[in-house]
Symmetry: C2
Subunit: 528 residues, 2 copies
């Protein structure tokens, strides 16, 4: 008798990822919380229907891939000579060109790279992981958190960096000691039964690694001043970081980073660079994707859409029954179109943040001299807030490290002005974490998505400062509602059409939803 798994494997082979995915849901094999897609495409659902897809980023590629499988006739117009959009991997020889003419060329060892856009795949993003499986994109673990990574603040510990293992475990120790004291002083007798008070004290000893008297006096969890060794060499504990200084340092963003649902272990990255994903889609799609095809006008016709574009100096036009517009909203602001007033308003109201990354090549001193293999160090003050170590080719000679990843907006980093000043700040952040090592960084590359043609921004949201909830609410309460509904025969797709913004998963889920809507419309039209 065939097992459910065998069945699913066969379904997957026959119908691809989407089919198997849906079947798993229908068999109840996936818990609700772990998937957000509901793609269901009937076989030959799209026979005889033409679709033009604007933009070959993840949303455009997923749309083209799934619609091709369902029998639609699909064309993707991609302005660049490569697929992927923001999923862009910078390697030796890659040119980073800004709209103002600034040009940088990466000069790095073979195999080194910067994922200038998305750089990690959370294990809960099953749609993207499913495509990696289906398209044969090899994945490896992306180390998103390391206890050997560092945190530094000028406000505490004399400006010296301390290890994440100290911040996390000394904090937990202090918190446990304080709470144990309160329990013993009967401050929580209203909240906790007598039994629970007893259990709470036992728990807090384990939780904080407290002494028998419920005091925190340091823990090997926070690292040691001397590791145990051979013969007479015993372990020596570090003096715990002082609670007052920890509060002063304000390390909490860095200490809690790994607990964000999309940042939790286990995370992945494609071996060789994130762009292995769009290239795998593009390989399957072949001539469906038209490169160097710059959309110039988006028009409605009585029975569909008409898109004018330029390709290799020639003006062209394509007509289709439907369009999926998977271009950044920033680009739509300057693309002549026939959109309805509600979409025009939504476009006008949507602003994009200008995410940046600064990357450097260096010998892997963070591994050899600091025991740091992947993960992120945090700088609690100053214009550059984090240093992200490569998970690729760990233990090799050189690597590309990111020093600075945030949005610029009106931040202190933006105020630095020149690229030179920004690179200097990036180098200085490494120096603060790793004194004496800043000068080892070479071959910098600075990417700012706000300055790159065909994107003109990284993701929805003006700025991401300490609290961006206002920005986000405005978008999701306003323009978002418009983009998730079609404008006649023009549909939208992209991470800006999902509540998983700035993630590839959002782009893929939005694509699924959009093609489902089109397929359903085709079905109803045929039935009518």
């Amino acid at each position: 008798m065939a097992t459910r798994r065998d069945f699913l494997t066969r379904v997957g082979q026959a119908g691809g990822f989407a089919a198997a995915f849906v079947t798993m849901r229908e068999l109840g094999l996936m818990s609700d919380g772990m998937s957000a897609s509901s793609l269901t495409l009937a076989p030959n659902a799209g026979a005889g229907v033409n679709v033009v897809i604007l933009g070959g980023g993840i949303a455009g590629l997923v749309s083209a891939y799934e619609m091709s499988k369902a029998g639609f006739r699909v064309t993707v117009l991609e302005a660049r000579s490569r697929p992927g959009g923001r999923n862009w991997t910078v390697r030796n020889g890659t040119a980073v060109e800004f709209m103002d003419g600034t040009r940088q060329v990466a000069s790095w060892e073979a195999g080194s790279y910067l994922n200038a856009g998305p750089a990690r795949l959370p294990s809960i993003h099953k749609t993207m992981l499913g495509y990696c499986r289906e398209l044969g994109v090899p994945l490896e673990v992306e180390v998103n958190s390391s206890r050997s990574a560092l945190q530094v603040s000028e406000k505490a510990f004399g400006g010296r960096a301390v290890e994440q293992r100290q911040v996390i475990n000394d904090t937990r120790g202090h918190v446990s000691e304080l709470l144990a004291k309160c329990v013993k002083q009967h401050a929580l007798d209203e909240e906790l039964s007598k039994d629970d008070c007893t259990r709470m004290l036992d728990f807090l000893r384990t939780y904080g690694d407290l002494k028998e008297d419920h005091k925190y006096a340091g823990s090997a969890r926070a690292g040691v001043s001397r590791l145990p060794g051979a013969g007479p060499v015993t372990q020596e504990l570090r003096k715990p970081l002082d609670l007052h200084a920890l509060l002063e340092a304000n390390f909490w963003r860095g200490a809690l980073f790994e607990e964000g649902l999309t940042m939790q272990a286990t995370m992945f990255q494609p071996v060789g660079g994130m762009d292995r994903i769009p290239f795998a889609f593009a390989h399957r799609l072949g001539s469906v994707v038209q490169y160097n095809a710059q959309v110039e006008e988006i028009r409605k016709t009585p029975s569909g859409v008409r898109v004018l574009f330029e390709q290799k100096g020639r003006k062209k036009a394509i007509e289709a029954d439907y369009a999926i517009c998977a271009l950044p909203i920033t680009v739509l602001k300057t693309t002549p179109n026939d959109f309805s007033p509600r979409i025009r308003q939504a476009i006008a109201k949507t602003e994009y943040a200008d995410g940046f990354k600064v990357a450097w090549e260096s010998k892997r001193f963070w591994e050899t001299d600091f025991n740091i293999y992947g993960g992120i160090s945090f700088v609690a003050s100053g214009p550059v807030g984090l240093v992200w170590y490569p998970s690729a080719k760990i233990f090799s000679d050189t690597g590309v490290l990111i020093s600075g990843y945030a949005t610029e907006g009106t931040s202190d980093f933006a105020k630095l002005g020149s690229i030179e000043a920004k690179l200097a700040a990036s180098r200085a952040a490494v120096e603060r974490l790793h004194p004496g090592y800043g000068r080892r960084l070479t071959q910098p590359i600075y990417v700012n998505w706000g300055r790159i043609a065909h994107n003109e921004g990284s993701w929805v949201g003006r700025e991401r400062e300490t609290n961006n909830s206002t920005e986000r609410t405005t978008y999701y309460d306003g323009p978002y509602k418009e983009f998730i509904e079609p404008d006649d025969r023009i549909y939208f797709a992209g991470d800006h059409c999902a509540r998983v913004g700035a993630w590839q998963e959002g782009a893929a889920l939005a694509a699924h939803r959009t093609i489902q809507m089109i397929t359903e419309r085709v079905r109803l039209t045929r039935t009518a």
Copy 2:
């Protein structure tokens, strides 16, 4: 001008790992807390000196490798036909033979394996990582902790498994709420200044993801009942796990496991199995390692040592200036010898624990159906306490999963008696974590080091139950002191000669210390 790194690279090329290691320490490039070795071997230190090494586990191999480089004439006597000792990787076709004649043969897909002994390399174990680098053993990340892994207890949540992300983050939420309440009630005014109270409340909001009123009402960190999706699909929070039930469940061992210093991210494993390390040593050592050479007597001579052994049915003897005894103490109990009374007593007093692992082959349901990629799930009650998911070949079709890793002693697991009963308990633990999936496990292998010839135990310590500190103290206060000093010209090495017991790092550090002692003795003898 040559950089320090270039210099070190050249030193490393000329003198191997040990030389570069020492040089790095001398240049102050490694912090004290991060290395416990102090190996310093002068060139040709061992010219003209013969050493016989008993046992080809990590301690024996490291000794032979470093001494060969320093000019000693070295022979390793290894009872088995393979190097590595407890560093043993079981693969398709590997026979697991117990001393009572019980025989199991692994029948697994190519590429699948069980590391029956050591299975992870912490990033703080620089000696072993250094050898992997020097010997060209490719490493990959060992995922030791995953927020998607599970915990289950019969005492709470109706016996249903909950995710680590829930246990860890809901616990932190409750703890933060309780402590915030105490701060607000002025229960900590003696401990905290007014400023620190304010900062503490801010911190606790971030720490526990509390509401503005400092209540914990759930957090996306603990996972969601609905992931955000495309279009109108918003995220829905889970109801947080109840604090009382969490205390009842007693999940703390599993929740804090990742914080043990040797268990902290980032961890590694050799690609293809841990035995890639001993095989790499053995490849370098060539005929220095004599296999199938069973030590039968360890004797002293007026000027050195004489070891009798049997190899392929033939009785042989080897004489040397020094011996390094890197055999398990259990084996020494029955090996005729000339040891001094203090060593004989130490041997008699030393007992070994009987570590076991149970492994199964299965389709990777934990990945496809539970989003678990590596890491460990914990079963808070019952004879089998954990299920460890493979970090090797993640996303492939099948994998070898461990259900049960502990010592037996007089535990409930040991009391099950037959292998069949133990396998059933192992399967049942998987079933408790993953209802409906226990029956998918096939091709079990049960390894108990206490039942395997040439080891007769896993590591020092009679039993490791809830609290083994007494056992440990007894050994380190007693026999340990004896083994770390030589008996005439017989020296000891192994993890039992380091305060890093049951880790390869301990074996390597003990080997370093031992060969340093011998080298120093040789130098003094020559000087005299």
